[in-house]
């Protein structure tokens, strides 16, 4: 199973080259990759063995994979729809110069998503989770020459990535609480009973809610419609946005079935469901309409998982499948319309059914499913949905009301996206289309047909929905799907919803102009605005801070560095006051050296000649070298003298270039500087005095003396440490040295060229 998923990643690596080699058929080849994962998965179920490979054994992290009903439902959607998307993309983006790279990103996404729903290890789950965010970023921003696409990609990445980090914190807490890293071994009782339950719940929900575009994080999803349509159809309706729903379902046995869970998850879900539906009917761009209706359905699924009864969970599973099928189809037909006519504005498209019969049929079928009318799968899922919201643990009236309102609005959406462009009057569009090529209608037609087949004969789904519900609930959840339930209150509600939706569509049709204006005004507020303001604010703050810190004046840099050091080092020093200053025995040579150093330092600050400053600094360096000699650190002394010599040489060479030395500092400048310097000096002196009170452990020295010759064949401990025991450090230092050298080179090279 692992290998099947990994093969998708390998495919992603090879995709650009393969596309260059094979040309157009490559799309069909890539479509086979997700399909083989699906084949493996079904075979794997027969075996029902969890597999794992060690990954980071020291942390107990494994590449653990487990397949149950829930994973299989998601895997079916990811791989099945994924394969159709590859075919669709090969037509939609035909002969686009970067199509090979597009396939690579899409395969990367497919692989991460498959890994996500298969992962049993929380760390693996998180890695795949973030990989889907990253690949989604690449895909949304694929048209990277347009600033809107780049901005939308960044928005999606920041929102879902930020939520992902919160989720990581939650998952880590989960691991800490349960002592296990594998989801299947988590004990729900331990977690729910523990004091960390609420933080864990909120952190994990932050991840799930951002990914699944719940209010107030819903704004990134419609923005992500900047992506090419295959991406919108795949990521933003069928798969990635459902990762949050998947997470809720996956962790339901661990975190669910509490009062907090019920209130938070159901509340956010219901709010999202209504807000998404309302926003959907106020849009005029086909893809945005579909995006907001996706937001609404994601809220609906979240709400169902929040309710968490057997009926609700079963409804969530079936609704999930139904939605992925019809929304994928609708997105693809919307893309086809855009592709063939040049617009996605529903107010400008009319009567195209005759010219595009297959696309129109697919769109209508999908829309019927989306409206929840018989005999499609959408109808079944809506029935189950109503059944579930009529018997929640509490708040029945509110939830039922919200459910009916949102469903009626979704009926309106279905009419807008499938009735408007294809029927009603003579054809109108910027360019009148022909029927699209097979690669463009194969996907929507297949999905729409699947909606119909599963609606008429739900038995074809097998016991998959029941297995998925069982996995979510953690206890057996038998589920029988029938198209005809008999005359029940639920059926009446369904019929009422359809009638209400039709009525609303009629009412709204006449007043588009005003409605869109209202929507525009409404859209100016809300979380999107908060996000934009926060983003702008962050940029402005960064600019301000950079302006303050990176003035380009060496003085300022030194000041900041020195003050930071004083604060960081000084605070613990002050806290440990008073400490006993050790009695020091000072010999005459040391006193003399100290006097010379002090005199040189004083000279360096007082002199008017640059050469004298260099000489004074050199004198200090040489005295320090002598100090090393006195304490028999010969290695250091030799290096010090060489460094001093070379420093003086470089100084002298550069001095020619500097302007004449004029004392320009006023008292206002140098007095604060002197104070800062004095404080710094005192801090460092205190630090050194204090460090000498600590008796250094002789272990290290003994270790190196004992091991130096036998193991490293060297008698000079300093060198042995440098080249043998700590060779990695030296390698790093050498690299840093060379990089610094290149930096100086670059600086001086630009200077010289400018000066020349």
């Amino acid at each position: 199973m692992l290998w099947a998923v990994l093969s998708v990643f390998v495919g992603a690596l090879l995709a650009p080259a393969l596309y260059r080699g094979l040309g157009r058929p490559a799309g069909w080849l890539f479509a086979a990759l997700p399909l083989q994962v699906l084949v493996f998965a079904t075979a794997f179920v027969a075996e029902a063995h969890p597999t794992s490979l060690p990954w980071i054994p020291s942390l107990g992290v494994e590449l653990a994979v487990r397949l149950d009903g829930l994973s299989l439902v998601f895997l079916g959607l990811i791989c099945g729809i994924g394969a159709l998307i590859f075919v669709y993309a090969s037509g939609y983006l035909r002969s686009h110069p970067r199509l090979g790279r597009f396939y690579a990103y899409l395969l990367l996404f497919t692989g991460s998503m498959a890994g996500l729903v298969l992962a049993d290890d929380v760390i693996l789950l998180f890695v795949c989770w973030e990989l889907t965010s990253v690949s989604s970023y690449l895909l949304i921003g694929w048209d990277h020459e347009r600033p809107e696409a780049r901005k939308a990609a960044l928005t999606a990445l920041l929102v879902t990535g930020g939520g992902g980090l919160a989720m990581l914190a939650g998952l880590v807490l989960l691991v800490v609480v349960t002592g296990e890293t594998q989801i299947s071994r988590f004990s729900g009782d331990v977690v729910r009973g523990g004091p960390l339950y609420l933080p864990i719940l909120l952190l994990v929900l932050a991840g799930a809610f951002t990914k699944s575009a719940q209010v107030p994080f819903h704004f990134w999803l419609p923005r992500a419609m900047e992506a090419p349509t295959p991406v919108s159809a795949y990521l933003h309706s069928a798969t990635m946005v459902k990762a949050g729903v998947y997470l809720l379902a996956r962790l339901h046995p661990t975190l669910g079935a509490t009062r907090e869970w019920y209130l938070v998850v159901t509340g956010f879900g219901a709010a999202t469901m209504v807000v998404g539906a309302v926003l959907a009917v106020t849009q005029e761009d086909l893809k945005r309409i579909l995006a907001y209706s996706t937001v609404s359905v994601l809220g609906l699924l979240t709400m169902l998982l929040g309710i968490g009864t057997r009926a609700a969970v079963s409804a969530a599973v079936v609704y999930l499948v139904a939605h992925s099928l019809y929304k994928g189809a609708l997105f693809m037909t919307a893309g086809t319309l855009d592709h063939e006519t040049g617009t996605r504005d529903v107010t400008r498209l009319r009567g195209l059914a005759r010219r595009m019969p297959i696309t129109a049929t697919a769109a209508v079928l999908a829309a019927i499913s989306s409206a929840g009318a018989p005999p499609l799968l959408g109808f079944l899922s809506k029935e189950l949905f109503y059944e579930a919201v009529l018997s929640p643990p509490s708040l029945t009236a509110v939830l039922a009301g919200a459910a009916v309102l949102a469903s009626a609005l979704l009926v309106v959406v279905s009419l807008v996206v499938a009735y408007r462009p294809f029927f009603g009057g003579s054809p109108a569009a910027p360019t009148l289309p022909h029927e699209a090529p097979p690669s463009l209608w194969l996907g929507p037609a297949t999905l729409a047909a699947a909606s119909l087949v599963f609606g008429v004969a739900p038995r074809l789904l097998g016991d998959l929905p029941s297995a998925a519900a069982t996995a979510i609930l953690g206890r057996p959840a038998p589920l029988e799907l029938h198209l005809w339930h008999g005359l029940t209150p639920v059926l009446g509600l369904s019929a009422a919803t359809l009638v209400a939706g039709l009525g609303l569509f009629r009412v709204l049709s006449g007043r588009e102009g005003r409605l869109f204006d209202a929507a525009a005004r409404l859209g100016a507020w809300g979380p999107a605005r908060v996000y934009d303001a926060a983003f702008e604010g962050l940029l402005r703050f960064a600019e301000w801070l950079t302006g303050r810190l990176q003035t380009g004046h060496l003085r300022r840099y030194l000041l900041v560095t020195v003050l930071t050091t004083v604060v960081l080092v000084g605070t613990p020093l002050l806290r440990s006051l008073p400490f006993t200053i050790p009695s020091l025995t000072v010999a005459l040579p040391e006193l003399v050296l100290a006097a010379v150093i002090l005199a040189s330092a004083a000279m360096a600050t007082r002199t008017q000649s640059r050469l004298a400053v260099v000489a004074a600094l050199g004198a200090i360096g040489l005295c320090v070298m002598l100090v090393y000699v006195i304490f028999s650190a010969l290695d250091l002394a030799l290096t010090q003298i060489m460094v001093e010599v070379l420093t003086v040489v470089i100084f002298v060479l550069v001095l020619h270039h500097l302007p004449r030395f004029v004392p320009r500092s006023s008292a206002r400048v140098w007095i604060p500087d002197a104070i800062v310097s004095a404080i710094f000096g005192v801090t460092v002196t205190l630090l050194i005095l204090m460090s000498s009170t600590l008796s250094p452990e002789p272990i290290l020295r003994e270790f190196f003396v004992a091991k130096g010759y036998p193991e490293a064949h060297g008698r000079d401990i300093v060198n042995v440490i440098l080249v043998d025991f700590r060779a990695m450090d030296t390698l790093g230092e050498s690299t840093v040295l060379c990089v610094a050298g290149i930096g100086v080179y670059a600086l001086l090279a630009t200077r010289t060229r400018k000066g020349a």
Partner: protein, 139 residues
């Protein structure tokens, strides 16, 4: 114009300094010295040449560009690390062999010496690059 004495003394001093630097490099494992110090000494030898003559003649004397030296140095360091890896240990693990050298008896040769040679070249290249740039600016 640099003094005549400096010009006359430079070749002799340079030869001495280069010998000292190689000596420091090779004995570094047992006595104070090593690649870093050796690199600094040889760089100072060339700095003397820069001061006594001029940049073009120093570059000519050096033959290789300092950037190349840096690259060679880092590559040598990495190579010495890979030897340990190939020999079945971990990256940068010291590998030693005893080679009989006529006149000196058995001499222990190991990757840490190669490592030191790399440091030597890298340091030399880095310092010389900055020195040559600075000298070019001031001329």
């Amino acid at each position: 114009m640099p003094s005549v004495i400096l010009r006359a003394a430079t070749p002799v001093l340079m030869v001495l300094l280069i010998i000292v630097s190689i000596y420091a490099l090779l004995r570094g494992h047992d006595e104070p010295g090593g690649g870093f110090l050796g690199g600094l000494i040889i760089a100072s030898a060339f700095s003397l040449h820069i001061l006594a003559y001029d940049v073009p003649s120093t570059r000519q004397l050096l033959r290789v560009a300092p950037q190349t030296l840096m690259g060679l140095g880092l590559s040598t360091i990495l190579l010495s690390g890979v030897v340990g890896l190939v020999a079945g240990g971990s990256f940068l693990q010291g590998v030693w062999a005893t080679v009989p050298v006529p006149g000196l008896g058995d001499v222990a040769v190991g990757t840490p010496v190669l490592f030191d040679v790399g440091v030597y070249a890298a340091v030399m290249g880095m310092v010389l690059m900055i020195l040559l740039m600075a000298a070019e600016m001031s001329s």
